[in-house]
């Protein structure tokens, strides 16, 4: 299958008064047509910065993409001019942001916001765009769409606002959609609706999706590939099945084990397994492997050298000295 997205050795830095922070520090990823790639990680691991780098929305200064390539259908979009990039957004790549309240314009009706996207990116006339807005609201499952197009964001619930965001993102049938924590602000029953919707629309439009979330459960449900990030690095990347049933990186193992599972025996009296310590501050990253001071199988080498990103079996990459000691 054709690779829709290929990220090669991407580095994004922020120059701040207290020094340069490498929020994304050498990430390699690829995504095929119609596939969903889940990016998992905790706060500060660089998953949102990665998405913004792909979208070319890193505020500069202080941010900058320091090196690497982002290939969309074989074209390196890091080299495009701003004008060319604007044409890519919407039709090529679109994005769903985490907070539907803050990312929709509060003083413009939602229908108008959808119409704007198709007018700008697809060159629709005002009238056609207005029809398209109603159609999109219907597609994402908002009841009585022809009336709701006139609503302002504050008149809608969180779930509906997220649907509007999805309607905007999908209105131009993009090749690639980046969804940054699309369900984090929502209740579980609404989360199930939204994930279902993204899956269905993705299949209809053959869109590839990058799904960013801290919730490994969401990825297990919705993605085919998964990348686990830690301190700006992808520490493990594989098919979803392999990662959940045969996780290799100690961090992935810890993440999977620290979540309480369903109906565990005597769970009430037992301790949950934990990863000791906290997510590191990017200003004071330890040398060597960034995870070494929380790792339960740490070796001397981990404290000095950063592990390489190695393919341990077909399509399964791990960044850990334990896993590939022969290197």
């Amino acid at each position: 299958m054709a690779k829709v997205l290929q990220v090669k050795n991407l580095r994004t830095c922020f120059d701040t008064e207290s020094g340069t922070v490498r929020a994304v520090d050498g990430v390699d990823l690829s995504l095929e047509e119609g596939e969903t790639l889940g990016i998992a990680g905790e706060s500060g691991c660089g998953k949102t910065v990665l998405a913004l780098s792909i979208m070319r929305l890193i505020p500069s200064p202080p941010g900058r993409v320091a090196s690497g390539q982002v290939m969309l259908d074989g074209v390196d979009i890091t080299r495009l001019s701003d004008e060319e990039m604007r044409k890519i957004r919407g039709r090529g790549i679109s994005m769903i942001f985490q907070e539907p309240m803050t990312s929709l314009n509060p003083v413009i009706p939602v229908g108008e916001q959808i119409a704007e996207a198709v007018r700008l990116h697809l060159g629709f006339s005002r009238k056609d765009a207005a029809c398209k807005a109603v159609e999109m609201l219907k597609t994402v499952g908002i009841p009585s769409p022809s009336e709701r197009v006139k609503d302002y964001p504050h008149q809608m619930s969180g779930g509906m606002r997220q649907r509007v965001m999805i309607a905007i993102a999908l209105s131009c049938r993009p090749r690639l959609m980046l969804a940054d924590e699309p369900t984090t602000a929502l209740d579980v029953t609404i989360q199930a609706q939204i994930l279902d919707l993204i899956n269905r629309l993705k299949e209809e439009a053959k869109t590839s999706v990058v799904l960013i979330t801290h919730d490994l459960g969401v990825i297990a449900e919705a993605a085919q590939k998964v990348a686990v990030m830690y301190a700006g690095l992808v520490v493990e990347y594989s098919s979803v099945r392999e990662l959940y049933y045969e996780p290799r990186h100690p961090y992935t193992v810890g993440l999977l084990e620290s979540r309480p599972g369903p109906r565990e025996k005597d769970a009430r009296d037992r301790h949950l397994k934990v990863i000791p310590g906290t997510v590191p501050n990017l200003y004071e990253l330890p040398p060597g492997c960034p995870f070494h001071n929380r790792c339960n199988v740490v070796m001397d080498r981990c404290k000095m050298e950063r592990p390489e990103y190695t393919e341990i079996s077909e399509g399964h990459y791990v960044r850990c000295w334990r896993i590939n000691p022969w290197k």
């Binding site: 199930a192 919730d215 297990a220 009430r268 906290t278």
Partner: protein, 356 residues
Amino acid sequence: MLENKSLEIEAYEDSGSARTILSVECLKKYFESRSGVLSRQVRLVRAVDGVNLRVFEGETLGLVGESGSGKSTLGRVVIRLDAPTEGRVLFDGRDVHRLQKEELRSFRRDVQIVFQDPYASLNPRKSAESIIGEPLTVQQICDRRERRERVVRLMEVVGLTPDQMRRYPHEFSGGQRQRIGIARAIATNPKLIIADEPVSALDVSVQAQILNLLKDLQRDYNLTYIFISHDLRVVENMSDRIAVMYLGKVVEVAQSSALCGEPLHPYTRALFSALPVMKPGERKERIILEGDVPSPSNPPAGCPFHPRCRERMKVCETQAPALTRTVEGRFVACHLIGDEAAGKGLGRKEERGALI
């Protein structure tokens, strides 16, 4: 109402008859909301709408529900941060909202709360020492010198190091801040702690640490918890019993294992089926609820869940089902389950109607 209570007592007497530490009786909390500053129109938001619950000594009662279900409001009324509109809360047999002076002071000592957001609930201008030590001073538990020793001990108990005592909240990570919040809560040696979404704001890898800490403290200090969370898996892992709330009402109460193993109320069933499972490839039957949670200012007539319920019947649109005991000694508020229970000889329908 009285009959309802006796039923409840009956149910739990089977299960070891622990002492009731807290009981919530027909509790209602309505808020007034005006549509505009000058508007005369006042709408009532029924945040908590007739809740009966009891909490037994040493147990963890989990309270789950989606946003707007009233679980936090219930917690706030229980701890007397808000006054009830109707009904009462009894702690150790005394009406919490009628306590005065010395009794109130001792209630404040016995009942504590851990808040959701450790970033917003700690005073940024106070050091860890004065945050943790403040209840000791307010409650006149010890003098200044002893206070420092106690704070040191509390910090060790919750997994902080005493040399962090002089630091301010911004110098701590989220997990550490929550530890400070917990140390503050246990400083007065409370009996009951209300933990309102204590891990929701934390990273996944840190959540487990805090949950383990709460379990340890419960064991070591014989604490009773009301554990409020929207996260079913976390509640399941922490609780002995679970109460599920929807639009200000309790729709199901049962032992944790029974409720999670076989949820009965259609809403509870939908909640569990909406949970993502960490097993890729394993497709499961999923109930996807339609629509949103209705606004508590305009709740639907009859059963609050009926507009989203797949199994609604005619009666659900007009009559709110009472929380009724089922055969297994569980409580469910659903006409569907009521009928089943009735079929198994659990009282006639008219009788159950009278219990509301």
